[in-house]
Protein backbone atom coordinates (compact mmCIF):
# COMPACT_ATOMS: atom_id res chain seq x y z
CA UNK A 1 0.00 0.00 0.00
CA UNK A 2 2.75 2.48 0.85
CA UNK A 3 4.18 5.03 -1.53
CA UNK A 4 7.80 4.71 -2.57
CA UNK A 5 9.89 7.07 -0.44
CA UNK A 6 13.61 7.52 0.02
CA UNK A 7 13.40 7.98 3.76
CA UNK A 8 11.81 5.98 6.56
CA UNK A 9 8.34 7.28 7.40
CA UNK A 10 8.05 10.12 9.85
CA UNK A 11 6.05 9.06 12.85
CA UNK A 12 5.81 12.21 14.96
CA UNK A 13 2.56 13.64 16.26
CA UNK A 14 0.91 16.31 14.12
CA UNK A 15 1.10 20.02 14.86
CA UNK A 16 -1.98 21.19 16.67
CA UNK A 17 -4.70 22.39 14.37
CA UNK A 18 -5.27 26.18 14.45
CA UNK A 19 -9.01 26.17 14.94
CA UNK A 20 -9.23 29.96 14.73
CA UNK A 21 -7.93 29.69 11.15
CA UNK A 22 -10.46 27.03 10.17
CA UNK A 23 -14.17 27.83 10.21
CA UNK A 24 -15.84 27.45 13.60
CA UNK A 25 -18.54 24.81 13.94
CA UNK A 26 -21.36 27.28 14.53
CA UNK A 27 -21.58 29.80 11.66
CA UNK A 28 -25.27 30.84 11.64
CA UNK A 29 -25.22 32.58 8.24
CA UNK A 30 -24.62 29.09 6.87
CA UNK A 31 -27.93 27.87 8.26
CA UNK A 32 -27.38 24.11 8.31
CA UNK A 33 -24.47 24.58 10.70
CA UNK A 34 -26.83 25.74 13.47
CA UNK A 35 -28.13 22.26 14.35
CA UNK A 36 -25.06 20.36 13.20
CA UNK A 37 -22.37 22.01 15.35
CA UNK A 38 -21.27 20.72 18.77
CA UNK A 39 -21.99 23.10 21.65
CA UNK A 40 -19.53 21.61 24.10
CA UNK A 41 -15.78 22.12 23.97
CA UNK A 42 -13.69 19.58 22.07
CA UNK A 43 -11.46 17.35 24.21
CA UNK A 44 -7.84 17.98 23.24
CA UNK A 45 -5.85 14.82 22.65
CA UNK A 46 -2.15 14.84 21.80
CA UNK A 47 -1.89 12.29 19.02
CA UNK A 48 -1.65 8.64 19.92
CA UNK A 49 -0.75 6.00 17.37
CA UNK A 50 -4.47 5.90 16.45
CA UNK A 51 -4.21 9.43 15.02
CA UNK A 52 -0.60 9.33 13.76
CA UNK A 53 -1.30 6.37 11.48
CA UNK A 54 -3.65 6.39 8.53
CA UNK A 55 -4.42 4.56 5.31
CA UNK A 56 -2.17 5.17 2.31
CA UNK A 57 -3.22 4.17 -1.19
CA UNK A 58 -1.02 2.97 -4.03
CA UNK A 59 -1.24 4.21 -7.61
CA UNK A 60 -2.58 0.73 -8.44
CA UNK A 61 -6.10 1.75 -7.39
CA UNK A 62 -6.30 4.34 -10.17
CA UNK A 63 -7.95 3.80 -13.53
CA UNK A 64 -6.58 5.42 -16.70
CA UNK A 65 -9.23 8.17 -16.78
CA UNK A 66 -9.62 8.78 -13.06
CA UNK A 67 -7.93 12.19 -13.44
CA UNK A 68 -9.80 13.21 -16.60
CA UNK A 69 -13.34 14.38 -15.83
CA UNK A 70 -13.76 15.55 -19.42
CA UNK A 71 -13.77 11.92 -20.54
CA UNK A 72 -14.26 9.55 -17.58
CA UNK A 73 -18.07 9.60 -17.87
CA UNK A 74 -18.32 10.45 -21.57
CA UNK A 75 -19.48 8.15 -24.32
CA UNK A 76 -16.68 6.96 -26.61
CA UNK A 77 -15.59 9.79 -28.90
CA UNK A 78 -17.52 12.42 -26.95
CA UNK A 79 -16.54 14.80 -24.16
CA UNK A 80 -18.08 17.04 -21.50
CA UNK A 81 -19.36 20.49 -22.46
CA UNK A 82 -17.74 23.53 -20.88
CA UNK A 83 -14.50 25.43 -20.45
CA UNK A 84 -11.68 22.91 -20.58
CA UNK A 85 -9.23 23.40 -17.73
CA UNK A 86 -6.30 21.70 -16.04
CA UNK A 87 -6.05 21.94 -12.27
CA UNK A 88 -2.58 21.25 -10.93
CA UNK A 89 -0.56 21.88 -7.79
CA UNK A 90 1.22 20.25 -4.90
CA UNK A 91 0.18 18.82 -1.58
CA UNK A 92 2.54 20.20 1.06
CA UNK A 93 2.73 19.95 4.81
CA UNK A 94 3.05 22.92 7.14
CA UNK A 95 6.84 22.52 7.09
CA UNK A 96 6.78 23.06 3.33
CA UNK A 97 7.61 19.47 2.42
CA UNK A 98 5.81 17.80 -0.45
CA UNK A 99 3.47 15.00 0.62
CA UNK A 100 3.99 12.02 -1.70
CA UNK A 101 1.36 9.33 -2.15
CA UNK A 102 -1.51 11.59 -1.03
CA UNK A 103 -4.88 10.51 -2.41
CA UNK A 104 -6.95 13.42 -3.74
CA UNK A 105 -10.59 12.95 -4.64
CA UNK A 106 -12.62 15.76 -6.23
CA UNK A 107 -16.20 16.36 -7.23
CA UNK A 108 -18.05 19.22 -8.85
CA UNK A 109 -21.09 20.45 -10.75
CA UNK A 110 -21.11 20.62 -14.55
CA UNK A 111 -20.62 23.79 -16.62
CA UNK A 112 -24.20 24.88 -15.87
CA UNK A 113 -23.93 24.37 -12.11
CA UNK A 114 -25.86 21.06 -12.06
CA UNK A 115 -24.69 18.14 -9.95
CA UNK A 116 -25.30 14.55 -10.99
CA UNK A 117 -27.04 13.54 -7.74
CA UNK A 118 -30.52 12.20 -7.06
CA UNK A 119 -31.18 14.81 -4.33
CA UNK A 120 -30.33 17.72 -6.68
CA UNK A 121 -33.27 19.45 -8.35
CA UNK A 122 -31.77 22.54 -10.00
CA UNK A 123 -33.40 23.31 -13.37
CA UNK A 124 -30.08 23.55 -15.23
CA UNK A 125 -29.60 20.48 -17.41
CA UNK A 126 -27.37 17.50 -16.78
CA UNK A 127 -24.56 16.96 -19.27
CA UNK A 128 -24.87 13.35 -20.51
CA UNK A 129 -21.08 13.23 -20.86
CA UNK A 130 -20.16 14.58 -17.44
CA UNK A 131 -20.19 12.64 -14.16
CA UNK A 132 -18.31 15.10 -11.96
CA UNK A 133 -15.96 12.91 -9.94
CA UNK A 134 -12.30 11.99 -10.19
CA UNK A 135 -9.22 11.16 -8.17
CA UNK A 136 -5.44 11.07 -8.33
CA UNK A 137 -2.41 10.41 -6.14
CA UNK A 138 0.51 12.80 -5.69
CA UNK A 139 3.94 11.87 -7.04
CA UNK A 140 7.18 11.78 -5.04
CA UNK A 141 7.28 15.60 -4.90
CA UNK A 142 3.66 15.92 -3.81
CA UNK A 143 2.56 17.11 -7.28
CA UNK A 144 -0.77 16.29 -8.90
CA UNK A 145 -2.84 17.35 -11.93
CA UNK A 146 -6.21 16.60 -13.47
CA UNK A 147 -8.38 17.74 -16.37
CA UNK A 148 -11.94 18.88 -16.06
CA UNK A 149 -14.38 21.54 -17.18
CA UNK A 150 -14.87 24.69 -15.17
CA UNK A 151 -18.00 24.26 -13.01
CA UNK A 152 -20.80 26.81 -13.05
CA UNK A 153 -22.20 28.74 -10.10
CA UNK A 154 -25.46 27.40 -8.70
CA UNK A 155 -28.23 28.57 -6.37
CA UNK A 156 -28.91 26.90 -3.03
CA UNK A 157 -31.64 27.18 -0.43
CA UNK A 158 -29.92 29.15 2.33
CA UNK A 159 -30.93 32.77 1.89
CA UNK A 160 -33.58 33.35 -0.79
CA UNK A 161 -30.98 34.36 -3.35
CA UNK A 162 -27.72 32.67 -2.36
CA UNK A 163 -25.44 31.33 -5.09
CA UNK A 164 -22.30 29.30 -4.61
CA UNK A 165 -19.24 30.57 -6.46
CA UNK A 166 -17.79 28.16 -9.02
CA UNK A 167 -15.93 25.57 -6.96
CA UNK A 168 -14.42 22.10 -6.94
CA UNK A 169 -14.61 20.02 -3.75
CA UNK A 170 -11.38 18.30 -2.64
CA UNK A 171 -10.91 15.43 -0.21
CA UNK A 172 -7.30 14.82 0.83
CA UNK A 173 -5.54 11.99 2.64
CA UNK A 174 -2.07 12.57 4.00
CA UNK A 175 -0.27 9.82 5.90
CA UNK A 176 -2.13 10.07 9.21
CA UNK A 177 -5.84 9.97 10.02
CA UNK A 178 -5.43 13.32 11.81
CA UNK A 179 -4.48 14.95 8.48
CA UNK A 180 -7.82 14.13 6.88
CA UNK A 181 -9.19 17.24 5.19
CA UNK A 182 -12.07 18.25 2.96
CA UNK A 183 -12.07 21.70 1.40
CA UNK A 184 -13.18 23.61 -1.71
CA UNK A 185 -11.22 25.28 -4.48
CA UNK A 186 -12.43 28.60 -5.89
CA UNK A 187 -11.38 30.43 -9.05
CA UNK A 188 -9.35 33.64 -9.29
CA UNK A 189 -11.46 36.70 -9.98
CA UNK A 190 -14.88 35.19 -9.22
CA UNK A 191 -16.98 37.98 -7.64
CA UNK A 192 -19.27 35.40 -6.00
CA UNK A 193 -16.50 34.24 -3.64
CA UNK A 194 -16.87 37.15 -1.23
CA UNK A 195 -20.69 36.91 -1.16
CA UNK A 196 -20.86 33.26 -0.17
CA UNK A 197 -21.96 32.28 3.36
CA UNK A 198 -19.93 29.06 3.14
CA UNK A 199 -16.75 30.90 2.12
CA UNK A 200 -17.49 33.39 4.89
CA UNK A 201 -17.48 30.66 7.53
CA UNK A 202 -13.69 31.15 7.27
CA UNK A 203 -12.85 34.06 9.58
CA UNK A 204 -9.58 35.24 8.01
CA UNK A 205 -9.30 36.75 4.51
CA UNK A 206 -5.82 35.28 4.11
CA UNK A 207 -7.24 31.83 4.82
CA UNK A 208 -9.91 32.31 2.15
CA UNK A 209 -7.22 33.34 -0.32
CA UNK A 210 -5.48 29.99 0.27
CA UNK A 211 -8.51 28.40 -1.41
CA UNK A 212 -8.51 30.59 -4.53
CA UNK A 213 -6.71 28.92 -7.44
CA UNK A 214 -4.57 31.17 -9.63
CA UNK A 215 -4.97 31.29 -13.40
CA UNK A 216 -1.65 30.14 -14.87
CA UNK A 217 -1.22 31.06 -18.52
CA UNK A 218 2.28 29.51 -18.59
CA UNK A 219 0.84 26.10 -17.77
CA UNK A 220 -2.01 26.55 -20.23
CA UNK A 221 -2.00 24.31 -23.28
CA UNK A 222 -2.63 26.52 -26.34
CA UNK A 223 -5.82 25.71 -28.26
CA UNK A 224 -6.71 23.08 -25.63
CA UNK A 225 -7.13 23.96 -21.95
CA UNK A 226 -6.35 26.78 -19.54
CA UNK A 227 -4.62 25.94 -16.26
CA UNK A 228 -5.29 26.79 -12.62
CA UNK A 229 -2.76 26.23 -9.87
CA UNK A 230 -4.06 25.01 -6.52
CA UNK A 231 -1.66 23.98 -3.72
CA UNK A 232 -3.05 22.27 -0.63
CA UNK A 233 -1.36 22.36 2.78
CA UNK A 234 -1.89 19.55 5.28
CA UNK A 235 -0.87 19.49 8.92
CA UNK A 236 2.86 19.14 9.55
CA UNK A 237 4.23 16.68 12.05
CA UNK A 238 6.78 16.92 14.79
CA UNK A 239 10.02 15.42 13.62
CA UNK A 240 11.40 13.88 16.79
CA UNK A 241 11.38 10.13 16.73
CA UNK A 242 12.31 10.01 20.40
CA UNK A 243 9.08 11.22 21.88
CA UNK A 244 6.99 8.53 20.24
CA UNK A 245 8.68 5.31 21.24
CA UNK A 246 5.72 3.05 20.85
CA UNK A 247 7.70 -0.08 20.05
CA UNK A 248 7.78 -2.86 22.61
CA UNK A 249 4.16 -2.52 23.60
Amino acid sequence: MSAETKHPPEIGAFFQRDRSWHPRGLTPDYKTSVLRSPEKALLSLDNTISEITGPVFGHGILGALDNDLIHNFAKPGESAIGERIIVYGRVLDERGNGVPGALLEFWQANAGGRYRHKKEGYIAALDPNFGGCGRTITDEDGAYAFRTIRPGAYPWPNGVNDWRPAHIHFSVFGHGFAQRLITQMYFEGDPMIWQCPIVRTIPDKAAVEMLVAALDMQATIPMDARAYKFDIVLRGRRSSVFENRLEGN
Binding site: P23, E39, L181, I182
Partner: protein, 204 residues
Protein backbone atom coordinates in the same frame (compact mmCIF):
# COMPACT_ATOMS: atom_id res chain seq x y z
CA UNK B 1 12.49 41.28 14.07
CA UNK B 2 13.35 37.62 14.41
CA UNK B 3 13.80 34.93 11.81
CA UNK B 4 10.80 33.43 10.11
CA UNK B 5 9.79 29.93 11.17
CA UNK B 6 9.15 29.19 7.48
CA UNK B 7 5.92 27.37 8.20
CA UNK B 8 2.83 27.30 6.06
CA UNK B 9 -0.72 27.46 7.32
CA UNK B 10 -2.96 24.45 6.85
CA UNK B 11 -5.53 24.84 4.06
CA UNK B 12 -8.76 25.84 5.77
CA UNK B 13 -11.55 23.29 5.79
CA UNK B 14 -14.88 23.74 4.06
CA UNK B 15 -18.03 21.68 4.38
CA UNK B 16 -18.26 18.49 2.31
CA UNK B 17 -21.73 19.67 1.25
CA UNK B 18 -24.82 17.62 0.40
CA UNK B 19 -23.29 16.01 -2.70
CA UNK B 20 -20.17 14.58 -1.04
CA UNK B 21 -21.26 11.18 -2.33
CA UNK B 22 -20.49 12.13 -5.92
CA UNK B 23 -16.80 12.29 -5.11
CA UNK B 24 -16.36 9.82 -2.28
CA UNK B 25 -19.00 7.13 -2.90
CA UNK B 26 -19.91 7.66 -6.57
CA UNK B 27 -21.49 4.23 -7.03
CA UNK B 28 -23.68 4.80 -3.95
CA UNK B 29 -24.76 8.12 -5.46
CA UNK B 30 -25.76 6.48 -8.74
CA UNK B 31 -22.68 7.35 -10.82
CA UNK B 32 -21.45 4.06 -12.20
CA UNK B 33 -18.69 3.29 -14.64
CA UNK B 34 -16.15 5.83 -13.37
CA UNK B 35 -14.61 3.79 -10.57
CA UNK B 36 -15.23 0.09 -10.16
CA UNK B 37 -16.02 0.01 -6.46
CA UNK B 38 -16.45 2.74 -3.88
CA UNK B 39 -13.23 3.10 -1.91
CA UNK B 40 -13.46 1.86 1.68
CA UNK B 41 -16.59 -0.16 0.93
CA UNK B 42 -15.00 -3.38 2.13
CA UNK B 43 -12.60 -3.69 5.06
CA UNK B 44 -12.38 -7.47 5.41
CA UNK B 45 -12.05 -10.53 3.19
CA UNK B 46 -12.27 -14.31 3.75
CA UNK B 47 -8.81 -14.44 5.30
CA UNK B 48 -9.06 -11.55 7.74
CA UNK B 49 -8.04 -12.54 11.26
CA UNK B 50 -10.12 -11.75 14.31
CA UNK B 51 -13.70 -11.63 15.54
CA UNK B 52 -16.14 -10.42 12.89
CA UNK B 53 -18.31 -7.54 14.00
CA UNK B 54 -20.75 -5.14 12.42
CA UNK B 55 -20.94 -1.47 13.36
CA UNK B 56 -24.25 0.30 12.82
CA UNK B 57 -23.73 4.03 13.13
CA UNK B 58 -25.99 7.05 12.87
CA UNK B 59 -25.27 10.76 13.11
CA UNK B 60 -28.02 12.88 14.71
CA UNK B 61 -28.47 16.64 14.72
CA UNK B 62 -29.48 18.92 17.59
CA UNK B 63 -33.14 17.92 17.26
CA UNK B 64 -32.34 14.18 17.31
CA UNK B 65 -33.00 13.82 13.58
CA UNK B 66 -30.62 11.42 11.82
CA UNK B 67 -28.48 12.96 9.07
CA UNK B 68 -29.28 11.37 5.73
CA UNK B 69 -26.42 13.05 3.91
CA UNK B 70 -23.45 12.39 6.20
CA UNK B 71 -20.26 10.58 5.26
CA UNK B 72 -18.48 8.54 7.91
CA UNK B 73 -14.96 7.14 7.84
CA UNK B 74 -13.53 4.76 10.42
CA UNK B 75 -9.93 3.78 11.19
CA UNK B 76 -8.92 1.01 13.51
CA UNK B 77 -6.22 -1.49 14.40
CA UNK B 78 -6.31 -5.15 13.36
CA UNK B 79 -7.08 -7.97 15.80
CA UNK B 80 -3.48 -7.90 17.07
CA UNK B 81 -3.55 -4.15 17.70
CA UNK B 82 -1.50 -3.15 14.62
CA UNK B 83 -2.44 -0.45 12.11
CA UNK B 84 -2.27 -1.06 8.35
CA UNK B 85 -0.22 2.10 7.82
CA UNK B 86 3.32 2.97 6.68
CA UNK B 87 3.71 4.85 9.96
CA UNK B 88 3.05 1.68 11.96
CA UNK B 89 6.56 0.83 13.21
CA UNK B 90 5.73 -1.91 15.71
CA UNK B 91 5.16 -4.66 13.18
CA UNK B 92 3.20 -5.65 10.10
CA UNK B 93 -0.56 -5.52 10.26
CA UNK B 94 -2.85 -8.22 8.88
CA UNK B 95 -2.62 -7.72 5.07
CA UNK B 96 -6.20 -8.95 4.75
CA UNK B 97 -7.60 -6.09 6.79
CA UNK B 98 -7.59 -2.51 5.51
CA UNK B 99 -8.29 -0.89 8.87
CA UNK B 100 -10.12 1.88 7.05
CA UNK B 101 -13.73 2.05 5.96
CA UNK B 102 -16.00 4.65 4.44
CA UNK B 103 -19.81 4.74 4.22
CA UNK B 104 -22.48 7.26 3.40
CA UNK B 105 -25.45 7.27 5.75
CA UNK B 106 -28.55 5.79 4.13
CA UNK B 107 -30.68 8.41 2.36
CA UNK B 108 -33.84 7.00 4.02
CA UNK B 109 -32.83 5.61 7.42
CA UNK B 110 -29.69 7.62 8.14
CA UNK B 111 -27.81 4.49 9.14
CA UNK B 112 -24.46 3.25 7.89
CA UNK B 113 -23.17 -0.28 8.33
CA UNK B 114 -19.52 -1.35 8.53
CA UNK B 115 -18.44 -4.99 8.41
CA UNK B 116 -15.22 -5.14 10.37
CA UNK B 117 -13.38 -6.98 13.14
CA UNK B 118 -12.93 -6.23 16.79
CA UNK B 119 -9.66 -4.28 17.10
CA UNK B 120 -6.88 -5.29 19.47
CA UNK B 121 -5.52 -2.91 22.07
CA UNK B 122 -2.90 -0.33 21.09
CA UNK B 123 -0.51 1.68 23.28
CA UNK B 124 -1.17 5.16 24.59
CA UNK B 125 2.46 5.43 25.62
CA UNK B 126 5.02 2.80 26.64
CA UNK B 127 3.49 0.47 29.19
CA UNK B 128 -0.02 1.96 28.99
CA UNK B 129 -2.63 0.39 26.75
CA UNK B 130 -5.80 1.95 25.43
CA UNK B 131 -9.04 -0.01 25.37
CA UNK B 132 -10.12 -1.38 21.96
CA UNK B 133 -11.56 1.50 19.97
CA UNK B 134 -12.47 2.65 16.48
CA UNK B 135 -11.66 6.21 15.35
CA UNK B 136 -14.45 8.06 13.53
CA UNK B 137 -14.30 11.05 11.18
CA UNK B 138 -17.62 12.63 10.22
CA UNK B 139 -18.33 15.15 7.46
CA UNK B 140 -21.63 16.43 6.06
CA UNK B 141 -23.52 19.45 4.86
CA UNK B 142 -23.51 21.90 7.76
CA UNK B 143 -20.28 20.55 9.28
CA UNK B 144 -17.52 23.04 8.49
CA UNK B 145 -14.60 20.94 9.73
CA UNK B 146 -14.67 17.14 10.02
CA UNK B 147 -15.50 15.89 13.50
CA UNK B 148 -13.31 13.32 15.27
CA UNK B 149 -14.57 10.90 17.86
CA UNK B 150 -13.99 7.32 19.02
CA UNK B 151 -16.20 4.30 19.53
CA UNK B 152 -15.45 1.99 22.45
CA UNK B 153 -17.12 -1.37 23.16
CA UNK B 154 -19.60 -1.88 26.02
CA UNK B 155 -18.39 -5.47 26.54
CA UNK B 156 -14.84 -4.29 27.28
CA UNK B 157 -15.65 -2.95 30.72
CA UNK B 158 -12.31 -3.70 32.35
CA UNK B 159 -10.27 -2.21 29.49
CA UNK B 160 -12.55 0.81 29.25
CA UNK B 161 -12.12 1.44 32.98
CA UNK B 162 -8.36 1.84 32.54
CA UNK B 163 -8.40 3.64 29.20
CA UNK B 164 -6.30 6.82 29.52
CA UNK B 165 -8.36 8.76 26.96
CA UNK B 166 -11.72 7.97 28.53
CA UNK B 167 -10.12 8.84 31.88
CA UNK B 168 -9.55 12.39 30.64
CA UNK B 169 -13.26 13.10 30.25
CA UNK B 170 -13.96 15.37 33.21
CA UNK B 171 -17.72 15.04 33.12
CA UNK B 172 -18.13 11.30 33.71
CA UNK B 173 -21.75 11.46 32.65
CA UNK B 174 -20.48 11.98 29.08
CA UNK B 175 -18.31 8.84 28.93
CA UNK B 176 -21.20 6.59 27.76
CA UNK B 177 -21.56 8.75 24.62
CA UNK B 178 -18.44 6.95 23.31
CA UNK B 179 -19.49 3.42 24.21
CA UNK B 180 -21.39 1.28 21.73
CA UNK B 181 -23.82 -1.35 23.00
CA UNK B 182 -24.04 -4.73 21.36
CA UNK B 183 -27.37 -5.57 19.71
CA UNK B 184 -27.38 -9.00 18.10
CA UNK B 185 -24.28 -9.25 15.93
CA UNK B 186 -23.75 -5.49 15.72
CA UNK B 187 -22.44 -2.66 17.83
CA UNK B 188 -24.77 0.30 17.65
CA UNK B 189 -23.21 3.75 17.82
CA UNK B 190 -25.31 6.90 17.73
CA UNK B 191 -23.30 10.09 17.31
CA UNK B 192 -25.16 13.15 18.63
CA UNK B 193 -23.75 16.35 17.16
CA UNK B 194 -25.40 18.64 19.67
CA UNK B 195 -27.57 18.87 22.77
CA UNK B 196 -27.98 16.93 25.99
CA UNK B 197 -26.66 13.66 24.58
CA UNK B 198 -23.84 15.38 22.68
CA UNK B 199 -21.04 12.94 21.83
CA UNK B 200 -17.55 13.78 23.03
CA UNK B 201 -15.56 15.09 20.06
CA UNK B 202 -11.80 15.39 20.07
CA UNK B 203 -9.33 18.01 18.94
CA UNK B 204 -6.74 15.49 17.77
Amino acid sequence: MVQSLNRLKESPSQTAGPYVHIGLTPNFSGISGVIARDLGDEMVNDKTLGERIAIRARVLDGTGTPLKDALVEIWQADSAGLYNSPTEIRGTADPNFTGWGRKATDMTTGECLFQSIKPGRVPYKPGVLMAPHVSFWIVARGINLGLNTRMYFADEEAANAEDPVLARIEHRVRVPTLIAERQGDAYVFDIHLQGEKETVFFDI
